[in-house]
């Protein structure tokens, strides 16, 4: 899939006299690009074409004799299946919650880290660490070492505080059973806030400080500077962080698979597709669901590309 964007490439090819010569020049320039381009087209685009084809077929590995054309049957089943619809809702809720919370947290932390203070480098290192933990390991960590109702750190801390004040029985909620989706979200927010923080920190550090200093000298308050100068400058970084985050979190599999195995209403679309394909072996239906996800993502991706292309226009305009 490619999305057309109307940005004109700068024409810097100059004194090349004849068309034949120019053509060889063009190909010499394109040559280094071709291996990557051809490889990408074969490995990423062909599977999607195949998915599209299979989505219109009856194809269940358990019933090999019934393979054939299904028309829109698989799509109808996708849109009438309660589980599938539930997982669409779950995907949206999960993505929106994780992206918004980690963006806001990331912004606050980036603003703090943009200031000079004792041990700034150490705090940045601490902040990056969650991003460096293998996602499966992070999910296991949250599930077993933190959320576990009998010996997880959360309930352990509550218990320790209760004991400190000499009280009786501390409340020991079963986090995963009571709020499974929130539990998954918390683990994901913990992993994604550093990513947002990094992007926003880069944005903050690319602000033109001389202009801000001029505003300060002219008597602008910190809030005014944030509201009218920092925030507009950060807007595109916020959008970009949000859109990149959405693209990754819509696809999240590791956390859902590890923390709840898709139980208790936490199955998102990738997990559901994985199940339909890997457990139920219903290839047609899994592909149809995949196509639906692709269409949904194209909507986000188009927005994302528009944002990125506005960044490019800025770069070209400089």
């Amino acid at each position: 899939m490619s999305v057309a964007v109307e940005t004109e490439a700068p024409e810097d090819r100059s004194e090349q006299p004849t068309t034949a010569l120019r053509r060889t020049g063009d190909w010499a320039r394109r040559a280094p690009l071709l291996p990557a381009l051809i490889f990408t087209i074969i490995v990423t685009q062909l599977p999607f074409v195949a998915t599209l084809v299979i989505s219109f077929m009856n194809w269940n590995a358990y019933y090999p004799d019934e393979r054939g054309f299904a028309g829109f049957g698989n799509f109808r089943r996708v849109f009438t299946d309660a589980n599938m619809l539930q997982s669409v809702v779950t995907t949206i809720v999960l993505t929106v919650a994780v992206v918004i919370v980690s963006l806001v947290l990331g912004l606050v932390i980036a603003l703090l880290l943009d200031r000079k203070f004792f041990g700034r480098g150490a705090v940045r290192t601490m902040m990056i660490t969650p991003f460096l933990i293998v996602p499966v390991a992070a999910a296991l960590l949250w599930k077993h070492a933190l959320f576990n109702p009998t010996y997880g750190l959360l309930n352990g801390t509550i218990n320790a505080i209760w004991k400190l004040f000499g009280q009786g029985n501390a409340p020991q909620p079963d986090w995963l059973t009571n709020n499974p989706l929130i539990a998954v979200e918390v683990a994901l927010i913990w992993q994604w806030t550093p990513f947002m923080m990094l992007i926003l920190l880069a944005g903050l550090q690319s602000r033109p400080l001389d202009v801000i200093e001029a505003a300060r000298i002219d008597g602008a308050t910190s809030w005014e500077i944030f509201r009218y100068m920092t925030f507009p400058h950060l807007r595109q970084y916020l959008e970009l962080g949000g859109l990149l985050g959405s693209i990754y979190i819509v696809q999240n599999f590791d956390a859902v698979f590890t923390i709840t195995s898709g139980g208790l209403g936490t199955a998102n679309l990738p997990y559901t597709i994985y199940q339909v394909f890997y457990t139920a072996h219903d290839y047609g239906r899994a592909s149809a669901a995949g196509v639906v996800v692709v269409i949904g993502t194209i909507a986000i991706a188009t927005l994302a590309l528009r944002t990125v292309s506005s960044l490019f226009r800025e770069e070209n305009a400089r």
Binding site: R29, R30, P35, A36, T51, R115, T150, L153, F277
Partner: protein
């Protein structure tokens, strides 16, 4: 942003800092404290994981938590010795991550060159094409790849993962390498050409010094993403070619719940990424922000 624009901004930043300093000491203290508190909260789960991994199973599973319990490497010993050894999975992950990263660089650097220093026509469209492949959910392409692998007998084969990881990381790498190559001042290339430097020589003495940190950042990010990948590794590999994350999920289900051992396993499998990430922290920050923003 080009190099020439950056210097005055930096100088202004330094000036601004000097002007700002005297009157902002108190709020600086409180904001610094707040940053420390948040930083510690974020790193705490990781510290807890490491601490638990060095406890005995009994001390790991107490409530309230036993922070001062004696330390032991029992969890690690059992992770490496009990049942299936994790070494083959770790070796598979290293092979897949390193080889796919090398392949990515092999494809991405020439492509990025064609998109930045002497850009082909419509270079933005090409760049967007690469990026758009990254925006498609991988789960939708999983089934055909699985069926294809089944047909040609490539299931449970590490090379299939290497090819897939290469395609997964190539768009990001092209994207990042382009922004790093765009930092190479064209004037310097032209000056080198005027002085009679050939392509190889100008690549080595003008382009390489500017781009080397970028190559490091790109490699690091490709390595991390390949090392972390679970979904494809789980579907496309079984026993021979399984990777470390797949081993980790299987390890937990087959062992039941032994908290110290699970934490030890999580630490071991995260370790290569953590070491690489800490060692190249600045490059990681630079690479991520550049790849994402520029």
């Amino acid at each position: 942003m080009t190099i020439t624009e950056r210097t005055p901004a930096r100088a202004a930043a330094a000036d601004a800092e000097a002007v700002r300093k005297p009157k902002r000491n108190i709020s600086t203290f409180w904001f610094g404290l707040l940053a420390w508190i948040i930083g510690i909260l974020f790193v705490l789960p990781v510290l807890w994981m490491v601490l638990t991994s060095f406890h005995t199973e009994n001390d790991a599973a107490t409530n309230p938590p036993s922070i001062a319990a004696p330390l032991t490497v029992q969890g690690y010993r059992e992770f490496f010795n009990s049942g299936a050894s994790p070494w083959p999975a770790i070796a598979n992950s290293l092979t897949a991550s390193i080889l796919s990263t090398l392949l990515v660089l092999l494809f991405a650097i020439p492509a990025a060159y064609a998109l930045s220093i002497r850009p082909v026509r419509k270079w933005t469209d090409v760049l967007f094409f690469f990026l758009s492949t990254k925006m498609l959910p991988v789960v939708a392409g999983l089934l055909p790849l699985y069926l294809f692998a089944q047909k040609v007998g490539l299931l449970d084969n590490i090379w299939l993962l290497i090819v897939f990881y290469t395609s997964m990381n190539l768009p990001i790498a092209v994207w990042m390498m382009r922004s790093f190559l765009a930092e190479v001042p064209v004037e310097m290339l032209e000056a080198a050409a005027v002085d009679g430097a050939g392509l190889i020589r100008s690549l080595r003495s003008v382009v390489m010094p500017v781009v080397l940190p970028g190559i490091a950042a790109t490699s690091l990010i490709c390595f991390i993403f390949s090392w972390n990948e679970l979904l494809f590794a789980r579907v496309l590999t079984a026993t021979r070619a399984q990777t470390a994350p797949v081993f980790l999920t299987g390890f937990v289900t087959s062992q039941g719940l032994f908290l110290a051992k699970v934490c030890a396993a999580a630490v071991v499998i995260s370790l290569p990424v953590i070491i690489a990430g800490f060692a190249a922290q600045d490059k990681l920050v630079q690479g991520l922000s550049m790849g994402a923003v520029k």
